[in-house]
Amino acid sequence: MSDTTLSAAQRLVGVDIQESETNRAVVEAIEADNPDCSVQHMPGLVRITCPGRLVVNRETVEERLGREWETHEFQMAIVTYFGHIKEWDDDEIVIAWNH
């Protein structure tokens, strides 16, 4: 039923993002900053999972978007997630398990 051998660094975390024009840049930024992630397209949304930790960097998103992007704006993109939101400041958002 549950696999107790996986550590917090191995267990998957993930986020579902609404599929949209702006969010394409957000998804690309996440793919660039999280080389181990896998991306799955579902009706209307994009699901990104990563072993252990998933980071969204403001600068990477801004580069792809060509404009300023504050991390609060991620609220417009996120549909759901699993893991803990470990950090959410001006520069990055980190989703990871604690234990």
Partner: protein
């Protein structure tokens, strides 16, 4: 994306604005004060009676670091986007591009069963926003309270466009309070509303929002996306973006309670045990919706359950909570073992009782049955296809059947006795408990455990069937009860040949008559 950077947010922005952490500290935490002439216990009278011990409220984390200005700005943007879609859809006769009129049965169920819960959630989070003794959780609860009323309002607005053309959407509030299958979600939420503030946080904030919300919302929204329901999909994603915050509140709540005092751990564990099972039973309605009500399928209930519960919660979250001594919910094995039979059993009940419901049902067609066989290779052909084959023979002989009697309901989840013994999908399970000399029936070990833990609460349940027999539901005959439910012609029964079905065929016939006209009354 339409949030244009305005002039005041030019290059000087970063020097003029406090960093997020400090802004949150200043605008949320620093607005709190210590009472000087009122006893804190008089100010926050409800934080001790459940036995939860809190030593330091400042340890509550809010990862979103939300402030009033940021909250208002992004919520306004979410609403603008939604209403642009609603207008476009209405102006373009969007309802004609749905996959089929029968698709709206899912939305009837949603409006009748879920929307009123959003409003109740709004009320209870407003109560928490007043009565939790720390500024961090109070502000998070305030935001969630406003979110929840936004969800109730936007759901009503979104679905009101369909009310002009389709049956079953006109009287959802009265029905929520009265109709038998809606007592399932209603009694679930009433149970939470009548609990203390911390139990409510675990019940709704954690068990519902974090453990189960993905199973409720994401299938509905993906179903909308696959079936041409642009407004519901947009509303759903708009609400889900708030849900992410609600999930965080639930998760922070549980971590906070577990870290504050070891004595909290067994209390929280029992609440998780109770509320997992309560919530899981409600999701039976979602299970049948995914597997039976959507004309174009998105994913099966089994797939959704494996993805959103087994993978994310059992293999992710509960590994994390093990650190605090929290174990996976009691009776979870039963839930896991039911994943290939749940949707079939629930829809079979709804099918047979839809003459007394505000939605319509039909026998699955050949293509649908082939999909069910392929998706549920171990159970569908063996246990459920024979039921539908028999019903097809009934129909061919002129007798689509509805159950004319009234079912025994579970005292806890209020679902008719339809669930089966573990490992034996052909024997109905029924548990009997005796409390103060009276017998009480439950549908499963999970519901029986919940009943026996707080019998004094559940003996008060408003069970729709008992209420009919006691004469509290409009009268002794079926038409009396249906009138009291607020049902009208066209709301109920068989979908094929129903008013919605006939209108749909007329609107999609080659002749242009009737396009854009209101449904035939």
């Amino acid at each position: 994306m339409t949030i244009a950077p305005d002039a005041s947010r030019s290059a000087s922005k970063k020097t003029r604005k406090l960093p997020m952490k400090q802004r949150y500290q200043a605008l949320t935490r620093d607005l709190d004060w210590e009472p000087s002439y009122v006893d804190p216990k008089d100010m926050f009278p409800y934080t001790e009676f459940e036995g939860i011990k809190i030593h330091d409220w400042s340890k509550w984390e809010d990862p979103f670091r939300l402030t009033v200005d940021a909250y208002a700005k992004y919520q306004a943007e979410k609403d603008k986007r939604l209403y642009a879609v609603l207008d476009g859809f209405a102006q373009g006769q969007g309802h004609l591009s749905l996959t089929d009129a029968s698709y709206l049965n899912t939305m009837k169920l949603f409006l009748q069963g879920v929307t009123p819960l959003e409003y109740q959630a709004h009320r209870n989070f407003a109560y928490l926003a007043r009565h939790l003794a720390g500024p961090g959780p109070r502000f998070a609860a305030l935001c969630q309270s406003i979110d929840e009323i936004r969800h109730a309002q936007t759901e009503i607005h979104t679905l009101s466009n369909y009310n002009k053309y389709y049956s079953g959407l006109h009287n959802y509030l009265q029905q929520h309070d009265r109709v038998w299958y809606l007592s399932v979600p209603k009694s679930f939420f009433d149970d939470a509303l009548s609990a203390g503030p911390f139990e409510f946080l675990i019940a709704i904030g954690f068990s519902f929002e974090y453990l189960l919300t993905n199973l409720l919302f994401v299938p509905f929204m993906s179903g909308a996306s696959f079936n041409g329901d642009l407004p519901t999909m947009t509303f759903g994603f708009s609400a889900q973006s708030d849900e992410s915050r609600h999930m965080t509140l639930g998760l922070e709540a549980i971590k906070f309670l577990l870290e504050q005092d070891e004595d909290n751990v067994p209390i929280v564990q029992e609440w998780i045990d109770k509320w997992f099972w309560r919530g899981y039973r409600v999701t039976g309605l979602v299970a049948q919706m995914l597997d039976y009500m959507l004309p174009r399928k998105v994913m099966s209930w089994k797939e959704a359950f494996e993805l959103y519960f087994e993978q994310q919660m059992m293999q992710g979250l509960f590994q994390d909570l093990a650190f605090y001594g929290i174990t996976p919910p009691r009776h979870v094995e039963q839930a896991l073992s039911e994943k290939e039979i749940l949707s079939h059993q629930v829809y079979w009940v709804l099918y047979q009782f839809s003459h007394a419901a505000a939605f319509t049902t039909s026998v699955p067609d050949d293509e649908h049955m082939a999909w069910l066989s392929a998706t549920y290779p171990d159970t569908f052909d063996k246990y459920f296809r024979p039921l539908w084959e028999k019903e097809r023979r009934n129909i061919a002989a002129g007798g689509r059947h509805f159950v004319r009697g009234l079912p025994q309901l579970c005292q806890v989840c209020q679902i008719p006795m339809t669930f089966t013994e573990p490992g034996d999908p052909t024997t109905i399970a029924q548990r009997v408990s005796v409390y103060e000399g009276e017998k009480f029936n439950t549908c499963s070990d999970g519901c029986q455990w919940i009943f026996e833990r707080e019998p004094e609460k559940y003996v008060q349940a408003w069970l729709p069937v008992h209420q009919i027999y006691q004469g509290n539901c409009g009268g002794p005959t079926l038409p009396d009860v249906l009138a009291w439910y607020g049902l009208q012609d066209g709301d109920s029964g068989e979908h094929k040949g129903s008013r919605d079905d006939l209108n749909w065929q007329r609107w999609h016939a080659q002749t242009p008559t009737g396009l854009g006209a209101e449904g035939e009354q």
